[in-house]
Amino acid sequence: MKDNGTGSTANLRKEERTVNCKEALPIMHEYFDGLLDGEGAAALRRHLAECPACAARFRAYERTEALMRSLRRPETPPGLTASILAALPPETRRRSWFRWIRRHPAAAVTAAFLIVMLGSFLSIWDQDSRVTVSGDDLDGIIVEGDKVIVPEGTRLDGNLTVRNAEVRVDGELAGNLTIIDGSVAYASAAHISGRVTKVDRALDYIWLKIEEWFGALVPAW
């Protein structure tokens, strides 16, 4: 603390503000509130230097302040966030969709695009469900509804491709047989010299789409 202002120095400081104990108390509080100006601080300092009771009180406030600020935070119970969120009223479905679109515009555009693509593909696919038979040699082949029959005793030279049909081979085929979206049955007497390939185009296409879908969405997620 500074010199107590007695003796010869007292005359020099006559015009400075002096405070008694009663006045010093609110100034002390101002100090601890962090609101004390320079003049008040000087007056308080001078008073504390000459008044042991107020100085003791000042130190007690200082300890109180320090103690209060040393109080630790209690640990927040774990799972509090979860229980707060669980207590909220349930989310409406429409809103969550809308929000998803807002938050993931790229993914939303991709998804919309794929849906349109898939829709158009499926409509084309639907129109394309009639039976088609193509081959190098179609002599003697029988088509009955969705059945394609290579009758017994018939020999077809070359490859045969059948789409959207149940194929029954009772005769002989000197070439490859390809069945797209269909099935095949053989009689014991049947003979196919080439390879038999079955393609399920819709399934392949869907697989392809699924791969595309994830390929498009994952990076944008």
Binding site: P26, H29, F32, D33, L35, R57, A60, Y61, R63, T64, E65, L67, M68, R69, S70, L71, R72, R73, P74, E75, T76, P77, L80, T81, S83, I84, L85, A87, L88, P89, E91, T92, R95, S96, F98, R99, R102, R103
Partner: protein, 196 residues
């Protein structure tokens, strides 16, 4: 206008139905509101209830949130009011209880807040130091009028102006309460010091 604070932006998102944004607000404030409620009530369970209720109110009032008010002021106001309500209800129940003291069975809810926190260390499983316990008890014994002011000032580092905003009272009133609260605490803490 200056750029909106994180809280303002999160409130806007939460208003539009973004639960993630609301969860972020919870993360930002749950510890603070828990600490506030815990110091006000001195009881873990009640503090947890107050935090739950605070966020539920915030959620329900998002549409009415006035952006000219700081979000922290707003949520502290809600939390403080809920805690004060509980203190008052407890006091009412306590005086009622005292009248019919002999008839009441010991695990009545009204006693809960006054007694439950004493047996278990509220700071989790860590044993409280003697000093920490003394401060805690001094705060607990503060009259309600000074309690909220003292807690906001010392434990939440708020300025007198902010405290006035939270409690909806003039700064001069806050100041008086801080001074009286400080005096009260000094006496409590000094007396206890003499004992040890």
């Amino acid at each position: 206008m200056d750029t909106p604070s994180i809280e303002t932006r999160l409130v806007r998102l939460a208003k539009s139905g973004d639960r993630g944004a609301f969860a972020d607000l919870v993360e930002l404030y749950k510890d603070k509101i828990y600490h506030l409620a815990y110091r006000m009530l001195g009881n873990r369970q009640e503090a947890e209830d107050v935090v739950q209720e605070t966020f539920l109110r915030v959620f329900r009032s998002l549409d009415r949130y006035d952006e000219s008010l700081k979000f922290s002021t707003w949520i502290y106001r809600i939390g403080t009011n809920l805690a004060i309500d509980r203190l008052r209800r407890r006091r009412a129940a306590y005086s009622l209880d005292a009248e019919t003291a002999s008839a009441s069975d010991s695990d009545g809810q009204d006693w809960h807040g006054l007694l439950a926190s004493e047996d278990m260390s509220p700071e989790g499983h860590v044993l409280l130091s003697e000093t920490q316990r003394r401060i805690r008890d001094a705060i607990r014994s503060l009259p309600e009028k000074y309690k909220s002011v003292v807690i906001l000032k010392y434990l939440h580092d708020m300025s007198l102006q902010e405290i006035g905003d939270v409690l909806n009272m003039p700064v001069t009133t806050v100041k008086t309460r801080v001074h009286r609260g400080r005096e009260f605490l000094r006496r409590r803490l000094e007396v206890e010091e003499d004992f040890t």
